[in-house]
Amino acid sequence: MNRRLALALLIVLCPELSWAYDIVLISGGPALRSHERFKVNTHDRYWGNFVDSTLARVKELRKEFGPDDKITWLVFRPGYIRRGLEEKQDYLKILEERGHLHGLTPIYFDDKDQLFTLLQRNGSPEKPLIARLEYYGHSNKKCWMFDYSNRVDGGAIETQVVHVDDLENISGSSFTPDAKCVSYGCHSGEEFSQRWRMIVGRPMVGAVGKTDYSAGGLPKLSEGKGGSWAY
């Protein structure tokens, strides 16, 4: 009884302990042009589609949120290393510099297990609950593909995708009760969003149809396919 009372008093007196929350933005990696260059449906002419769109979103979030709100930027590292080797550029350095302009330091992950670990939260100041999660990267209706057409032509490595069958590794208790999630990948609204809501327990907005990053800024629904956003 005393312990329960002490806990209640602690929460009342130090509300910031449980008010800490986090906005998580995830950037997937680009394809290799040596795989994609001659395809009819070619991808990622520009290496930084998912970096620029994420940072454009940060700019928008900064206007709406206070300067003390925490934004965590998770970046799939291997994709940028391999694309950089292909084009003889240090893209990690470039994206770090761009992030610095927005007051962000990327936190890298190399596979889905590391991402799941980064998404494990308990509400402590070190691991605040996630109030908002957004994904920028390749996807289809069943899968987030961080390394699409990078290590293998036209596909993604098993350990570097989050398939709907993997969603049990993401706990709903890592999110605030009113957390909002958005996937800016293609086709997520056709199945991934619904499975996310069923398994993770939070709504996720996703695209029905393709999303287009080619104009810069936030991705838009591709024209001509009657696309829409859906839960």
Binding site: L5, I11, W19, R37, F38, E86, Y148, V208, W229
Partner: protein, 207 residues
């Protein structure tokens, strides 16, 4: 009495501890959508009839110049042998399937293509590139035969059009055997579910 005070404090604390409401996003952004319905099927929410004008600070990109240079040699100039060609090998026939992950078919020497396996090739450029890397275009060695040296990877590749897993071959060398007599008349796994007309109304299931 003490119990009642404790309960009251917990209720107050729970109310205070509820996270601050997030601000709504600008119109047209998926974050500003209404709360989801309880209907288990996807609920279409925002039609996108018109593309908004770019905002003042929005990036509009210039055309991208391709930085990757490919070889300019004709197919006949593919190296006959490259990388480490010692040990056991598989016979591989390069097969192109539009919008489907993979390099082609492989089989053991002496077996028929009915026992062949569809593979994706993963390569280290410093060990051995894929054979078509020496050609102007990836499709230039279509239906060419190779002896492929390497091993199967312990992990698989995800094929996004058909939602299947494809075996990965880690190449360490190849020997070119020239054009095959015939194409392999066999679809890769579950290719039927990914054929263009299957999902024609919504286009290819990927970007």
């Amino acid at each position: 009495m003490g119990l009642l005070i404790g309960l009251a404090l917990i209720l107050v604390a729970a109310d205070l501890a509820h996270p601050r409401p997030l601000p709504t996003l600008s119109a047209g952004n998926p974050g500003s959508l209404p709360e989801p319905s309880t209907n288990p099927t996807a609920s279409t929410v925002v039609p996108t009839a018109a593309t908004p004008e770019p905002e003042e600070d929005e990036t509009v990109r210039k055309p991208i110049v391709e930085k990757v240079r490919r070889a300019a040699l004709p197919a006949a100039h593919t190296p006959a042998r490259h990388g480490d060609t010692s040990g056991s090998y598989l016979i591989g026939q390069r097969t192109l399937v539009e919008d489907y992950c993979g390099w082609g078919w492989v089989r053991k020497e002496g077996e028929g293509w009915n026992k062949g396996r569809w593979i994706a090739i993963e390569y280290d450029p410093e060990v051995c590139p894929v054979p078509h890397a020496f050609l102007p275009r990836p499709q230039d060695d279509k239906d060419y035969l190779y002896q492929l040296y390497g091993d199967f990877a312990p992990y698989r590749a995800y094929e996004p059009q058909a939602d299947v897993w494809v075996e990965i071959f880690l190449i360490r060398g190849f020997l070119s055997l020239g054009p095959a007599k015939d194409t392999v008349r066999r679809d890769p796994p579950h290719h039927g579910s990914a054929k263009p007309n299957r999902f024609a109304e919504r286009g290819a299931n990927l970007r």
